[in-house]
């Protein structure tokens, strides 16, 4: 397996703000990689460095085997980009913008373009200034997906799309994946990343705080267990990795760290399990564990997040 992009120790400052603070990121060829983080975490800055639009202060970045700054033009022939906030030319139609961007990249697949325009229900004859945000986004998505690029850099591409179009978008990402393309999908829509991505990197304050497949990450995180037992379960709270045990009579509710799940279930079985529901952590919970302290600082306390704070760092 080859690497489509690898980034290490990337630093980018704007005045006194450190937008990227030693970012590490690795994306394998053919992988759909989720790039998760709240607004202002540095996702867009990282992508712009990878596009050679911004010059990093320090650190190394390699993209498709080239240097993003020096080899920008050659690399751009092989990739397509959807900005997070698409702006169009007021007096060019959407169709003109699509054709133009694709031609400047090195050509487009006409049939595919028409299919995309139709599937996304886009009116290509309207002038840029009359499009809504969602429609501007569609123009950029169509221009990117109509290309034969081997790498797609998508910066929150579906912000402003309605749920129906979101589904269409997912279809095309699956197609791209099937065609062996590499995708970096920045997002703060967890469900989208969960559905589409093979691996995920969570970025916060300019650093990747966690990276891996969702399975790997779930392993690192807590599973919530609710169980009904024949006799009241005891001794759970003393077990390593078990948190927030609550229960009365035959019901018990607790969270357990991934690596201690086995021990906790063994303990439970001694009291005769009648029913058991467990749910793996959602990306929401993954995020909350990493951003818990921020939420707390903002006054938005969350039980799971509180408990999780400081665990992995």
């Amino acid at each position: 397996m080859t690497t489509a992009m690898s980034v290490s120790g990337l630093v980018k400052t704007f005045g006194s703000t450190r937008a990227l603070d030693g970012l590490d990121l690795s994306v394998a060829t053919g992988e759909v990689h989720g790039f998760l983080g709240p607004n202002g975490a540095g996702k867009s800055t990282a992508i712009r460095v990878l596009l050679g639009l911004l010059h990093a202060d320090s650190g190394r970045a390699t993209l498709l085997g080239g240097d993003p700054w020096n080899d920008a033009v050659e690399l751009h022939r092989r990739l397509a980009y959807v900005p997070g906030d698409v702006e169009l030319w007021p007096n060019l139609t959407g169709g003109e913008a699509i054709d133009l961007l694709a031609r400047l990249r090195g050509g487009l697949n006409k049939a595919r373009r028409d299919e995309l325009v139709e599937r996304f229900d886009l009116d290509p004859r309207k002038k840029g200034r009359t499009y809504s945000k969602g429609n501007r986004q569609k123009v950029a998505i169509v221009a990117a997906l109509a290309s034969d690029a081997e790498l797609l850099l998508l910066d929150e591409p579906t912000a402003g799309l309605d749920p129906l179009m979101e589904v269409v978008f997912q279809d095309f990402i699956f197609q791209a994946k099937a065609a062996g393309k590499t995708v970096l999908l920045s997002s703060h829509i967890l469900a989208q990343v969960e559905k589409l991505c093979d691996r995920v990197s969570i970025i916060r304050l300019g650093k990747v705080v966690q990276s891996g497949s969702l399975t790997e990450m779930r392993h690192l995180t807590r599973t919530t267990i609710e169980a009904e037992t024949a006799q009241p379960a005891a001794g759970l709270a003393e077990l390593p990795g078990v948190h927030d045990v609550q229960g009365d009579d035959g019901r018990v509710h607790f969270a357990v760290d991934g690596e201690h799940l086995d021990g906790a279930i063994r303990q439970l079985t001694r009291f005769g399990i009648r029913s058991l529901t467990s749910h793996p952590p959602t990306l929401e919970e993954l995020m909350l564990r990493h951003y818990g302290d921020e939420l707390e600082a903002n006054g938005g306390t969350h039980a799971d997040a509180d408990a999780g704070t400081g665990e992995t760092r």
Binding site: L53, E96, R103, P124
Partner: protein, 551 residues
């Protein structure tokens, strides 16, 4: 509270239909004043500052009777008419007469601009941004927004009139005539507020609305200048321009108020047209629906160069048409100008070039400088368009394609350089052709085109300065206007200002031979071209090195 509601409630059903259409006007006026609390005072004080400044500076500049005579001689005839006005009182000059008669033009123009932008800002910009919808959804009458805007514009221009009157009195000039001059400036502002009340109804886009009003202002200038060149004191043609009404008040000569009645009547009539048009359209829309465009890009639109052309095309066409029209008008009136000049006193003719043929050459060379300055405005606006491509986030997706920084920036610079040459040819050709027809000598076509084209190296230097700033210090790109403004001041007022030669040399336009009056000199043009190439190269290199500014 309750009683107010009770008395107001029947209003919509009563005969006071007009009243309900104006509901909320008072609140909107206060709201607009609140939003403009910085901008409006800045405009008013800025314009007044120039009056104060000229009032203090001119007596220093023209210390003796002789100095005053020298400038007034220079300002007699077509040059003065072109750049200043009908020239009342220049035959017996005093400082205040010069201030009003020559510099007054440049007090009137900003006042008109202030009014255009003010009306646009509170009507069409609000609609385009969708904020008007929010306001109109509350208890606000159909005509309230336009009415409130016009009230604010009227108040602003009245305050401006008073401020200028006070400034003139403060400078020690006659207070009554000072107030008349102030009122003349305010009246021009009011007239263009009225014009803008019409233009904002026409299209959906605020920039087009302001642009249309700007075109009207430009047309008013051209008509006035042409009319004033035809006859000393202005001709019937001048009186078609709202700017002329303000200048025909003859403050400090034999002041008269009645021309301002025309301004006020014109403003009222224009506003009335605006009201009528506004009832024929929906909120947020123009009189004409936005047209649908091509479903795909034309086949020629496939490189960064053609794309740069596509983006600058509208500007090129607009400028080309406007300059060619102005050139044709200014060329068409050469014959009567020559006649008028022949009637001037001999000493004035001597200053202007000796005899009538020379006089025409001088006229062409002055027009060429004037047109070159206008093409300079096009050049700077073109680079500023590029800058807004970057800051508005439209450059980003293009530079993420296989378009290099050099190709992107270089393409626009190429289009602007070629565009500038094209505009010089267009305006020079139109002026020359009209002159040739007017005086019956085909030789003027070539003369005029050459007189214009020689300014190419100077305009390239201007483009180079803008490119350098864009590449290295993009936030300071507006400083290029300083270079152009300096060129204007040195070009037109330099001969009468007692400045050392090196100051003149700082303006790139000063190194260009004033064809056909002077001999063509190649060396300075070559040097300017080399300087321009250097500036452009540094700009390109700088842009390749710097971060793209993103949204």
């Amino acid at each position: 509270m309750t009683t107010t509601t009770a008395t107001r409630a029947p209003a919509p059903t009563g005969p006071a239909g007009a009243g309900s259409a104006l509901a909320g006007t008072g609140t909107l006026v206060r709201f607009m004043l609140r939003r403009d609390r910085i901008k409006l005072p800045a405009w008013l004080l800025g314009i007044t500052f120039f009056v104060v400044y000229y009032g203090a500076a001119l007596p220093q500049l023209y210390r003796t009777e002789g100095d005053l005579r020298a400038i007034s001689t220079f300002m007699t005839g077509p040059v003065g008419a072109l750049i200043a006005g009908p020239g009342y009182g220049v035959d017996d000059p005093t400082v205040e007469r010069l201030l009003v008669g020559i510099y007054g033009m440049y007090i009137i123009l900003p006042a008109a601009l202030m009014s255009i932008l003010l009306v646009c800002r509170h009507t069409r910009v609000e609609e385009q941004a969708g904020r008007a919808e929010l306001v109109r959804a509350s208890v606000v009458g159909r005509h309230a927004q336009l009415t409130a805007t016009l009230i604010v514009a009227a108040v602003a221009n009245m305050v401006l009139a008073l401020l200028i009157g006070a400034a003139m009195a403060g400078n020690g000039f006659d207070a009554g005539d000072g107030l008349l001059f102030g009122a003349s400036v305010g009246a021009a502002g009011l007239a263009f507020a009225g014009v803008t009340a019409v233009t904002v109804q026409v299209t959906e886009y605020s920039r087009a609305a302001a642009g249309l009003a700007g075109v009207a202002l430009g047309a008013a200038y051209v008509i006035r200048a042409a009319g004033d060149m035809l006859d000393e004191g202005g001709s019937a043609l001048s009186w078609l321009s709202p700017i002329a009404w303000s200048q025909q008040t003859r403050a400090y000569v034999d002041g008269r108020w009645w021309p301002l009645a025309l301004s006020v009547a014109f403003a009222a009539a224009a506003a009335a047209v605006g009201y009528v048009l506004s009832t024929r359209r929906d909120v947020g829309l123009g009189l004409f629906a936005a047209r649908r465009g091509a479903p795909g890009a034309a086949s020629w639109l496939r490189s960064s160069l053609t794309f740069a052309f596509r983006l600058q095309r509208a500007g090129l066409i607009g400028w080309g048409a406007a300059l060619a029209a102005a050139g044709a008008i200014y060329g068409g009136i050469t014959e009567p100008i020559v006649d008028a000049v022949e009637d001037l006193p001999a000493d004035v003719i001597a200053v202007l070039g000796g005899d009538a043929a020379n006089m025409l050459d001088g006229y062409l060379s002055v027009m060429a400088l004037f047109d070159a300055l206008l093409v300079g405005v096009f050049v700077i606006l073109g680079v500023q368009l590029l800058r807004s491509e970057e800051t508005k986030g439209r450059a980003e997706p293009v530079l993420a394609t296989a378009t290099s920084r050099w190709a992107w920036f270089g393409s626009h610079l190429t289009v602007l350089a070629l565009g500038a040459v094209g505009l010089l040819v267009a305006v020079g050709g139109a002026l020359g052709a009209a002159t040739a027809i007017s005086v019956g000598d085909a030789g003027y076509v070539g003369d005029s085109v050459a007189a214009h084209l020689v300014y190419t190296p100077a305009l390239l230097v201007l483009l180079g300065v803008a490119a350098l700033l864009f590449g290295v210090l993009p936030r300071a790109i507006g400083a290029t206007w300083g270079v152009l403004g300096f060129g204007l001041i040195i070009g037109f007022f330099g001969p009468i200002m007692d400045l050392p030669q090196w100051v003149h040399n700082l303006s790139p336009l000063e190194h260009i031979a004033r064809l056909p009056l002077e001999q063509l000199t190649w060396a300075p043009m070559l040097i300017l071209t080399v300087i321009a190439a250097g500036l452009l190269a540094i700009g390109l290199y700088g842009f390749r090195r710097r971060d793209l500014e993103t949204k």
